[in-house]
Symmetry: C2
Subunit: 308 residues, 2 copies
């Protein structure tokens, strides 16, 4: 086994992922847990990190690089923001060292859009962008990063120019569980209903103002025409994603199409949605992107010193 | 005191309202409770009604007319639907008598739009429409009925032609209580912030596809620029209402403007929203409308018989 060079951590709101990485950027060990910011705020961030480092027997001198919500005001140590227009290279330069720890632990900043008409923030996604696009990708990219709080980002020549957050994933969660529509989706199996999903994406894309009506239609359709809970669930999902795409694609779409940074089921759903609208989308795996971004940052931070 | 002629009941999903009415349509007594369909499905509809009738000492022969969710499949006795295009006069003709009750108890049907592309249902609002517009109002009306599930209805010469339900009220409730935005509105006092509300209505009306982004903006704005919980709450409310208005006003708006059937705080909010968009809205009180609709139906059903 090659020698570990650093530990990379993606510390989100509700998830914690840690990788032990060697000098070449190869992953030696991975750990995942539900100890995201919300859980860690109670248990204590140092304790959570220490327990994972102990579990992988990380040497005392091994540095740790963290991205995500651990750097929020309500996180471990506030890591601030790089303001838009934000060069991705500035993100790695503004990593904040956690005080009072013998080990060299640094947290990457987020990006803020201090525009009174369209204020927005990201934490964690900047590291995915770094990993997916690199430091000095020439040209313009329109990036879609689906999730609980999806981000649409315009990057030009390595600089994050503008971005918008859409709470699509969180809306899907509360709409399908906490509203009258929970009756329509109750008992839905995992079987996909691609036709219902694509139809909903198109309908919402074409008439986004009708979103709250299209959602309710999932229930009315069941009452009047029957239909499976799975079809209703796909209608909710397709409607919310279709509205997001109507906004995300409302500006200029680069010739190359959209860069989709996503993993697993979300990647699959968004690929189907882009397909329904005949929009080109080139997928980059989100897990891989954040790991690559952390590696690039770690190399930039520690390569010049004796720590690595 | 004049003699009571009938009892009118508006039996919604989560509320129960009962009026004892004389032959001239004057209200002699009113009762309100939280025993809507959801509660009554557990306690039993006959028992709930009987307890209220006993409390007002209603004579045994007094007939009862009910509108609303008591007529749903999951209600007391299914009262079916009148299909669109639905003459409001057909609603009172299709009242369903509750079987097995010595007392003459009838439930008014809802209205269904059996359009596979835009399926929709209403129950209770048809009675408000009847009360607000009358049986044979000439001309065209565009009616906005805000609520948990807002309805926008196009009525021509006494016939409900088309309608759309928007789950605006329910979305506001879950978004402000069950998502990350609950942090932004926590501790909001009752003080209104008309400027934030109107600005949000306008922004959402102009870019409805950005709804999920405008909602999230309430939190980003607080993080980056400060701002009160009340301002955040008004932003959520204004955004959701603005999107609804973008859809509701997307067709032809009659010269006379919109007929707004609403009461209390909702009436106030929607009036402000229409004002923000410079759209004429003529308000009819929703409570009064449903009572008047029930009276019209009761008169039509029982006037010819000896019961009244």
């Amino acid at each position: 086994m090659t020698e570990p060079a650093y530990v990379a951590v993606d510390w989100g709101t509700s998830s914690f992922r840690l990788w032990l990485v060697d000098r070449a950027g190869q992953v030696l060990t991975e750990r995942r847990s539900g100890e995201g910011m919300l859980a860690a705020a109670k248990a204590g961030f140092p304790a959570v990190l220490r327990s994972h480092l102990a579990a992988i027997e990380a040497p005392d001198h091994l540095p740790v690089l963290v991205c995500g919500m651990a750097g929020a005001k309500t996180g471990w140590v506030e890591a601030g923001y790089v303001d838009t227009p934000a060069p991705l290279s500035a993100v790695l330069k503004q990593a904040v060292r956690v005080p009072g720890e013998a080990r060299d632990i640094r947290i990457l900043p987020g990006i803020a859009q201090r525009d009174a008409a369209a204020p927005d923030v990201m934490r964690g996604e900047e590291t995915q962008l770094l990993g997916a696009l690199g430091l000095d990708a020439a040209g313009e990219a329109l990036v879609c990063m689906p999730g609980t709080h999806s981000k649409w980002v315009r990057v030009r020549d390595g600089v994050v120019e503008r971005f918008s957050t859409f709470m699509t994933g969180e809306l899907f969660s509360v709409v399908s569980r906490e509203t009258i529509l929970s009756l329509a989706v109750a008992g839905a199996d995992e079987a996909e209903d691609v036709a219902s999903f694509k139809a909903a994406v198109k309908a919402a894309y074409e008439a986004p103002a009708f979103a709250a009506n299209l959602l309710f239609g999932a229930r009315s359709r069941q009452l009047l025409f029957g239909g499976t809970p799975a079809a209703a669930r796909e209608t909710l999902s397709g409607t919310l994603i279709g509205v997001e795409l109507a906004a995300g694609l409302s500006g200029l779409v680069p010739q190359a199409g959209v860069k989709l940074i996503a993993s697993g089921r979300l990647a699959m759903l968004y690929r189907l949605a882009f397909e329904a609208l005949s929009v080109n989308a080139d997928t980059v795996d989100a897990d891989e992107a954040v790991r690559r971004g952390l590696s690039m940052a770690a190399a930039a931070i520690w390569t010049k010193s004796e720590d690595l």
